[in-house]
C-alpha cells in the first residue's frame, strides 16, 4: 500500500534527472579543450596581424588588474568569473576581427554555464564589476592596445584552463 506513495517521488526524481542530464565530464573536458585551443589559435593569429614591435610589452601583469592576469583556477566558479570578465571586455571592442573570438568565448561560457547549473553551483557576482566598467570606459578609445592586452591575457588563461580541466568537476 506504500508503493504508490514511493513511486511518485521516484518518478519525479527521474524526470528531474532527465531534464538536467549533465554533459559527461570527459566529453565536456574535450569540448572545453577544443574550444580553448581554438581561441588560443585565433588570438595568436589576431595579435600577430598587428605586427607589433617585438620588444613592446603592452601592459605589465601588475598593471590593469581589472583584466585578469594569471588568475588562479579554483573550480567552475572561478572559471566562469574570469571568462565573464573577458567576455565583457571583448564586448566593448569594436566589431571586426574579435567578433569570432567573442563568439567562441560566448559558446564556451554557455557550456560552462550548463555545467554549473547541472552541478547546482552558486555563482557569485564578479567583484570588480564597477572598476571593470570604469576601466573599459576609460580605455574604450584605445581599442587596439586594449584588445591586444585582453586577448593576450585571455590566451594565458585558456592555456591555464587546458591544464586544469579537472577543475571543471568542482564548483
Amino acid at each position: 500500500m506504500y508503493f504508490p506513495a514511493l513511486l511518485y517521488p521516484c518518478i519525479l526524481g527521474m524526470l528531474s534527472l532527465v531534464h538536467g542530464i549533465p554533459v559527461h565530464p570527459d566529453r565536456l573536458k574535450n569540448m572545453v579543450k577544443l574550444q580553448a585551443d581554438t581561441i588560443i589559435l585565433r588570438i595568436k593569429d589576431h595579435n600577430e596581424k598587428l605586427k607589433l614591435y617585438p620588444k613592446l610589452l603592452i601592459g605589465d601583469p601588475e598593471l590593469y588588474p581589472e583584466v585578469p592576469a594569471d588568475r588562479h583556477i579554483q573550480g567552475l566558479g572561478s572559471i566562469m568569473d574570469t571568462l565573464t570578465i573577458f567576455q565583457k571586455v571583448l564586448q566593448r571592442l569594436p566589431k571586426g576581427h574579435v567578433s569570432q573570438i567573442r563568439s567562441d568565448l560566448s559558446t564556451l561560457l554557455g557550456y560552462l554555464k550548463e555545467r554549473t547549473t547541472s552541478m547546482h553551483c552558486i555563482l557569485k557576482e564578479p567583484a570588480n564589476g564597477r572598476s571593470l566598467d570604469a576601466f573599459l570606459e576609460e580605455n574604450a578609445t584605445h581599442h587596439i592596445t586594449l584588445g591586444y592586452l585582453a586577448l593576450d591575457r585571455l590566451k594565458q588563461f585558456m592555456q591555464k584552463l587546458i591544464v586544469n580541466l579537472d577543475q571543471l568537476k568542482s564548483c
Partner: protein
C-alpha cells in the same frame, strides 16, 4: 454697526495702502524661497457691498491685495482687519519637476470665522511659462476653494516660471492679487555638475574640469572629492570657489581613482555629487588627438605620471611597429617627453610613448592618434552576385589601428565612367544619392556585403576613418555591380564517355546575369590514367564540349565554371563534380583475371578463413562498346545456395571461407549485363595434388628467371600462378600483405618465365598449378642472387686487402731504406779501382784469389761478403768516431789501424763520422783491407770529409732469397764511382757484412763515366730490376741531398776482421769468368778530388 465697520476698514485701507506701496516687490515675485519652498503672504482689502434704498443695487466694490513679506509679517499685529483677509501662499515641487503645487490658505479662517461667519472664496490661477511649454502652447491650471485652496500644474519635467494669481471674494467683494512668479528652478537642488574630466598640461599638472548643467547656473561654490579606495571609505575633499576647474597634484600613478564634484547654488543648496569619474594616471598624451595635413610636422608630448619613469628613457613608437629615431625626441622635463614626426600620407596613425626597460619597451594602453586629412588608397575591390537578391561583397585594406566605416552612394542612369570623370565637381556630388553605410557599422572590418543593389547602377564606395571628422577617407571606387559579377556555377552537368574515345559534356548556364558567357571545363579520370591531375579545357563558348580521349571505357569527374564573355567579371566557382557515364552497346564478354590470398590466423582456432581476391588491373575492356563498369562476385559453397556481390571496379574483394569447397566466379558487368566468359577459382581444404617436379629461380641484375618441370603422368594444370611479395613496398607504411603481393598467371604449356623488374634477389616465389577443380600443391623457391650487402662486403674486404698489401710494400721499402741506407758502391772501393763490373763474369775475375772466390753462395743475409783492409796513407786522415760522446781520431802517419779492433769491444752500434780531406783515386789502390760487419744506423749519413786512405765501403746489403727488391735496385750504373776512394776487398770465407749508411741512388751518366775512368771495362752481372725499384730510386733521389749532409753511422761487427790473413787488395786486372757475381746495389758517396 455696518457703517462703523466700513469706516474702520476704510481708515485701515488708507493707512495700509500707504505702507504696502513701499513693501510691494519690485520683481513681481512677491515671495521668498526657503527650504525648497516659495512662500508669500497676500493681504486684501475687501469692502462690504451696500444695498441702496429703493432697491437699486450699486456695482460691487473691488478690493485690493498686496503681498507682504511672508517671513516678516510685522503688519499683522498692527492691522488686524487686514490680517483677517490675508492668505498664506506656499508653493513647492512635487516629484522631479513633475508638478508645481501651490496652496493658499486664509488667515481669517482662524481669526474671524466666528465673527462674521463669512468664508472667502479663493480662486488660484497658475500659468506656466517656459520655452518648451510655450512652443507647445500655454499650460495653466485654475483651482477654487473656500478659505483654502491647493492647486497643481504640470511642469513636464522642465524648469519653468509659473505665474500665480489669486482672487479672493468675500461678501460679494472681490480682490485680485498681483501677479506672482514662482521659478521652479529655485524650488529644487541644483543639478550636479557634469562632464567631469581632466586635462594634463605639458608640465605634467593634472587639472580637473566640469560643467554646470545650465549656462545660467547660480552655482557659486563647488566641492570635488576623490578616493583611491575601491570601497570609497576615504575621500579627499577640495573646495573650489567661483570656477569650474581645479588642479590635483597629489595623485599617484597606476591607481584607479574615483572623483566626484558638486555645486552650491545661491540659496546654499548643495547639489548631489556628480556621477563618479574613474581614472588611472599612467601616461597622458598632449594632445591626445591630432588633425594634420600631409607633410606637416606633428609634435606630441607624453607625460609619465609614474615618477620612476624618466623622460630620458622614453621610446616613441609609430603604429606600434616602428621605433622613431631618438633624434626626433625632446625631453621637456623629467616626466615629459615630446616627439616630432612628419606624416606624409593621409590616413590614421598612432604614437605610443614607452619606457625602456632593459631590452624591452614597457607601454601602456593609451596612445595618441594622428588623423592626416586627405584620401588614402584602400584597394577596395568588390564582387557582386546576381541572383534572387543582388548583393555585392567588398574588401579593402586599412591600417590595423584604424576603425573605419564603409560608405556608399549610388547614381542611377549614369555610367560609372562618366561619374568618375566628374569626380570632384559639385554636379557629381549632387547627383549621388544619400550616403548609406555598411550594415556592419564602424569597426575593425575589412569586408562588407551590400544588399539589395541595383546591378546597373553606379555605386561610389569609400572608407572613412572613425574619428576623422569625415576628412580622413579613402579614394572612392565607382563600381557597377554588373561589371563585377561572380556568376553562379553552371548546373545540370552531364557527361558521357563514348566508345569512340570521346567524352561528351553538356551543362546549363545560370540564368543571371543575362549576358553571354564563356566556360571552362576540367576533368580527371577516375582510373586507368597515371596522371590524376585535373585537365582544364577552355574557354568554351557553348554549354557543351567533346573531348578526345586516349582510351575508352574510362569514367571521368567533370566540373564546369563560367564567366562573362565580353567585359569584366569573375569566374564562378566550379560546379558540382559529375561522374561521366560510359556508353555501352552490349554487356562485357569476359570477366577479369584474379588470384586469391588466404589469410589464416594461426593463433585463433576458427573455422572461417579470410580470403581476398585480387583483381588484375586494369580490367580489360575488350570491345569499347562493352565497357566494364563493375564486377559481380558469384559464390557457391558446397551444399549451399549461390549468392553474388555486385561491386564497382574494385581491386580487392574479401569473403569468409569456411574451409569447405568454395567456388568463386568473378564477372564483369555494365549497364547492359554481365560477362559470359569468366574465370573462377575453387578453394578446398583437402590435400592437394603434387604435379611440379622441380622449380628453380635464378636472379640476375634486372630479371628473375623461373623454370619448372612437371611430374610425368600427371594431369596438366589449366594454368600456373606465380606469386611473390614486392619487397619494394615498405610493410611499415600501411602496406598490407594484400597490397604487397604480386602475381602473374602463366599458361599451362609454359615451363619457364622471365620477370624483368626490380628484384632484390631474396624474394620467395611460389608456383601454384591451377586446375579446373582447384589448386595443386604449390612449390616455393627463393631467388638465388646473393644479398647485395654481401657483394659490398666482399668489395670492402678486397679493398682493405689492397690497402694492406700496399702498406706492406711501403713498409718494406722503408725497412729496406733503413737497412740499406749506406751500403757503399763497390766502384768506390779501392779493390774495385779500375774495374768494369759489366765485364766481370765471375768472382774469380773480380777476386784473383781462387780459394776465396768459391764462396759465392755465401751471399746470405747474415754473412759478410766484403773484406776491407784499411791501409795507412800518407795523407792526414781524421775519422771522428762518435759513440756516446766518444770521438775517435785517426791521425795520418800512423800504421794501418784496424777500426774493428777498437770497435770489437763495443757491443753497441756505433756512429762513425768520417772527415776526409781531398782523397784521390790513386790512394785507393794502396788501401789495405780489413773485415768488419757494419750495420745501418737509423740516420745514416756520409761525410765528404773522407781521406783517401780511409773510406767506408760496402760490398753487400742484406741479401736473401726473398729480398729481390734489393737485388735489382740499380739498373744501369749501379755504383757511384764518382771519384770515390775506397779500399775494399772481399774474402768470402772471412767476410763480414757491414752496411754503410750510404744512400741508394740512381747511377747517373756521370757516375757511369767515372766508373769507366777507374779502369778497364769488365763484364758485370746485375740483379734483376723490378717495378718497385723505380719508386725506390725516386725516393732515393729525393733524399740524396739530405743524406749527403748526414753522418756515417756504422755498426761494426765485433769480430776483429782486420787481423785476417786472407785479406787482400783487389786487383782489377784479375778477372775470373767462372763465378757469376751478384753485386750489391748500394753505393757510397765519395768526395771528388780537388
Amino acid at each position: 454697526m455696518t457703517r462703523f465697520i466700513m469706516l474702520a476698514l476704510l481708515v485701515n485701507f488708507i493707512t495700509i495702502s500707504q505702507g504696502l506701496s513701499a513693501l510691494s516687490p519690485s520683481d513681481g515675485q512677491g515671495g521668498v524661497y526657503e527650504d525648497l519652498k516659495w512662500k508669500a503672504l497676500l493681504c486684501c482689502e475687501l469692502p462690504f457691498a451696500q444695498t441702496l434704498d429703493g432697491g437699486l443695487s450699486e456695482p460691487p466694490p473691488v478690493g485690493q491685495c498686496q503681498l507682504l513679506n511672508a517671513t516678516k509679517p510685522e503688519f499683522s499685529n498692527t492691522s488686524p482687519t487686514l490680517f483677517g483677509n490675508c492668505l498664506d501662499i506656499l508653493c513647492w515641487l512635487e516629484g522631479e519637476r513633475t508638478n508645481l503645487i501651490c496652496n493658499a490658505k486664509s488667515h481669517r479662517a482662524a481669526a474671524a470665522t466666528s465673527l462674521l461667519n463669512i468664508r472667502p472664496q479663493l480662486v488660484v490661477q497658475m500659468n506656466v511659462r517656459s520655452d518648451e511649454i510655450m512652443s507647445t502652447g500655454s499650460h495653466a491650471a485654475q483651482c477654487a476653494g473656500e478659505e483654502t485652496v491647493m492647486c497643481s500644474v504640470s511642469l513636464h519635467g522642465n524648469d519653468a516660471t509659473v505665474l500665480l494669481t489669486i482672487s479672493i471674494t468675500l461678501n460679494e467683494t472681490t480682490a485680485l492679487s498681483p501677479k506672482m512668479q514662482v521659478s521652479t528652478h529655485h524650488l529644487r537642488r541644483p543639478d550636479a555638475p557634469v562632464n567631469l574630466h581632466y586635462n594634463v598640461t605639458t608640465e605634467g599638472e593634472v587639472i580637473f574640469r566640469w560643467s554646470d548643467t545650465q549656462p545660467d547656473s547660480y552655482a557659486v561654490n563647488y566641492e570635488i572629492r576623490y578616493s583611491s579606495n575601491s570601497s570609497l571609505q576615504q575621500w579627499e575633499m577640495v573646495k573650489v570657489k567661483g570656477r569650474s576647474w581645479v588642479p590635483l597634484n597629489d595623485l599617484s600613478s597606476a591607481i584607479r581613482y574615483t572623483v566626484q564634484v558638486r555645486c552650491q547654488s545661491h540659496f546654499s543648496y548643495w547639489s548631489e555629487w556628480s556621477q563618479p569619474f574613474y581614472f588611472t594616471l599612467d601616461v597622458s598624451y598632449i594632445p591626445a588627438e591630432v588633425f594634420t595635413a600631409p607633410g606637416s610636422e606633428v609634435t606630441v608630448s607624453a607625460v609619465f605620471h609614474n615618477r620612476s619613469w624618466s623622460a630620458s628613457k622614453a621610446v616613441w613608437m609609430l603604429n606600434g611597429q616602428v621605433k622613431i629615431p631618438e633624434s626626433h625626441y625632446r625631453v621637456i622635463n623629467e616626466q615629459v617627453s615630446a616627439v616630432t614626426v612628419t606624416v606624409d600620407e593621409p590616413g590614421f596613425d598612432t604614437l605610443m610613448c614607452c619606457h625602456q626597460w632593459g631590452e624591452r619597451f614597457k607601454c601602456f594602453i593609451a596612445y595618441a592618434k594622428i588623423y592626416t586629412q586627405g584620401m588614402f588608397n584602400a584597394d577596395i575591390t568588390c564582387q557582386s552576385k546576381n541572383s534572387e537578391e543582388d548583393t555585392m561583397r567588398c574588401e579593402w585594406n586599412k591600417s590595423t589601428w584604424a576603425q573605419v566605416r564603409l560608405l556608399y552612394s549610388s547614381r542611377r542612369y549614369t555610367m560609372c565612367e562618366t561619374i568618375s570623370e566628374m569626380e570632384g565637381s559639385e554636379e557629381a556630388e549632387e547627383s549621388m544619392s544619400l550616403v548609406k553605410e555598411c550594415p556592419s557599422g564602424p569597426g575593425d572590418h575589412r569586408e562588407c556585403t551590400l544588399r539589395n543593389l541595383s546591378m546597373f547602377s553606379c555605386y561610389k564606395i569609400w572608407l572613412e576613418v572613425e574619428g576623422g571628422r569625415g576628412k580622413v577617407r579613402s579614394f572612392p571606387v565607382y563600381v557597377a555591380p554588373i561589371d563585377v559579377v561572380k556568376p553562379s556555377s553552371p548546373t545540370d552537368l552531364e557527361a558521357t564517355t563514348l566508345p569512340n574515345k570521346t567524352l561528351s559534356v553538356s551543362w546549363k548556364r545560370p540564368n543571371l546575369p543575362v549576358y553571354d558567357m564563356q566556360y571552362e571545363l576540367r576533368f580527371v579520370a577516375l582510373r586507368g590514367m597515371a596522371n590524376t591531375q585535373w585537365k582544364v579545357m577552355g574557354p568554351l563558348l557553348e554549354p557543351n564540349a567533346e573531348i578526345l580521349l586516349e582510351e575508352s571505357c574510362v569514367q571521368f569527374n567533370v566540373e564546369v565554371r563560367c564567366r562573362r564573355l565580353n567585359g569584366s567579371g569573375y569566374w564562378s566557382d566550379w560546379s558540382m563534380s559529375y561522374t561521366s557515364v560510359v556508353y555501352n552497346r552490349k554487356a562485357p564478354e569476359m570477366g577479369p583475371d584474379f588470384w586469391r590470398i588466404i589469410q589464416e590466423d594461426p593463433l585463433r582456432n576458427v573455422t572461417n578463413t579470410n580470403v581476398t581476391l585480387i583483381i588484375k588491373q586494369p580490367i580489360l575492356a575488350g570491345d569499347p562498346y562493352s565497357c566494364v563498369e563493375g564486377l559481380v562476385f558469384e559464390h557457391q559453397a558446397s551444399g549451399r545456395a549461390v549468392w553474388s556481390n555486385e561491386t564497382t571496379l574494385v581491386q580487392f574483394h574479401s569473403f569468409q571461407w569456411r574451409k569447405e569447397a568454395h567456388t568463386v566466379t568473378v564477372m564483369s558487368r555494365n549497364a547492359l549485363g554481365i560477362s559470359t566468359r569468366n574465370r573462377n577459382i575453387t578453394l578446398f581444404h583437402q590435400p592437394k595434388r603434387r604435379v611440379v617436379r622441380s622449380f628453380s629461380v635464378v636472379a640476375n641484375a634486372s630479371c628473375v628467371h623461373l623454370s619448372w618441370s612437371l611430374l610425368p603422368d600427371h594431369p596438366v594444370p589449366q594454368s600456373f600462378v606465380i606469386e611473390w611479395l614486392d619487397l619494394n613496398k615498405d610493410p611499415e607504411q600501411d602496406m598490407s600483405l594484400i597490397e604487397r603481393l604480386q602475381w602473374v598467371r602463366v599458361q599451362s604449356t609454359a615451363r619457364d618465365l622471365s620477370l624483368c623488374r626490380r628484384f632484390y634477389g631474396s624474394e620467395e616465389f611460389t608456383l601454384y598449378p591451377v586446375f579446373v577443380d582447384g589448386e595443386g600443391e604449390p612449390v616455393r623457391y627463393t631467388a638465388t642472387r646473393g644479398n647485395p650487402a654481401a657483394y659490398i662486403l666482399l668489395l670492402i674486404i678486397a679493398f682493405l686487402s689492397m690497402v694492406l698489401f700496399v702498406t706492406l710494400l711501403i713498409s718494406q721499402n722503408q725497412m729496406r731504406k733503413l737497412m740499406w741506407k749506406d751500403v757503399p758502391n763497390p766502384n768506390n772501393c779501392s779493390w774495385a779501382k779500375g774495374m768494369d763490373f759489366r765485364q766481370i763474369d765471375t768472382m774469380e775475375n773480380l777476386f784473383p784469389h781462387s780459394e776465396g772466390l768459391t764462396a759465392c753462395p755465401l751471399l746470405l743475409v747474415s754473412e759478410s761478403i766484403c773484406e776491407v783492409e784499411i791501409i795507412e796513407k800518407p795523407h792526414p786522415v781524421t775519422l771522428e768516431h762518435e759513440k756516446d760522446n766518444v770521438v775517435l781520431t785517426y791521425n795520418s802517419g800512423d800504421k794501418t789501424t784496424t777500426s774493428s779492433a777498437l770497435l770489437a769491444d763495443s757491443s753497441e752500434p756505433l756512429s762513425l763520422e768520417a772527415s776526409t780531406a781531398a782523397p784521390t783515386p790513386e790512394t785507393s789502390g794502396q788501401s789495405s783491407v780489413t773485415y768488419s760487419t757494419i750495420l745501418l744506423s737509423d740516420q745514416p749519413s756520409l761525410l765528404r770529409k773522407q781521406q783517401e786512405s780511409l773510406s767506408s765501403s760496402s760490398d753487400e746489403g742484406n741479401f736473401s732469397a726473398n729480398n729481390s727488391d734489393i737485388s735489382g735496385s740499380f739498373p744501369g750504373g749501379l755504383w757511384d764511382l764518382e771519384n770515390h776512394v775506397c779500399s775494399d776487398s772481399a774474402n768470402p770465407r772471412h767476410s763480414s757484412s757491414y752496411n754503410s749508411v750510404e744512400e741508394f741512388s740512381d747511377t747517373s751518366d756521370q757516375d757511369y763515366e767515372a766508373s769507366e775512368n777507374t779502369g778497364v771495362a769488365k763484364d758485370l752481372y746485375y740483379l734483376e730490376v723490378n717495378e718497385e725499384e723505380d719508386e725506390d730510386e725516386e725516393e732515393i733521389k729525393e733524399t740524396q741531398g739530405e743524406q749527403e749532409k748526414n753522418e756515417i753511422v756504422v755498426r761494426v761487427d765485433a769480430r776483429p776482421l782486420l787481423e785476417s790473413k786472407d785479406s787482400t787488395s783487389v786487383d782489377s786486372n784479375n778477372i775470373s769468368h767462372s763465378i757469376p757475381l751478384y753485386l750489391p746495389q748500394f753505393r757510397t758517396e765519395c768526395i771528388n778530388p780537388p
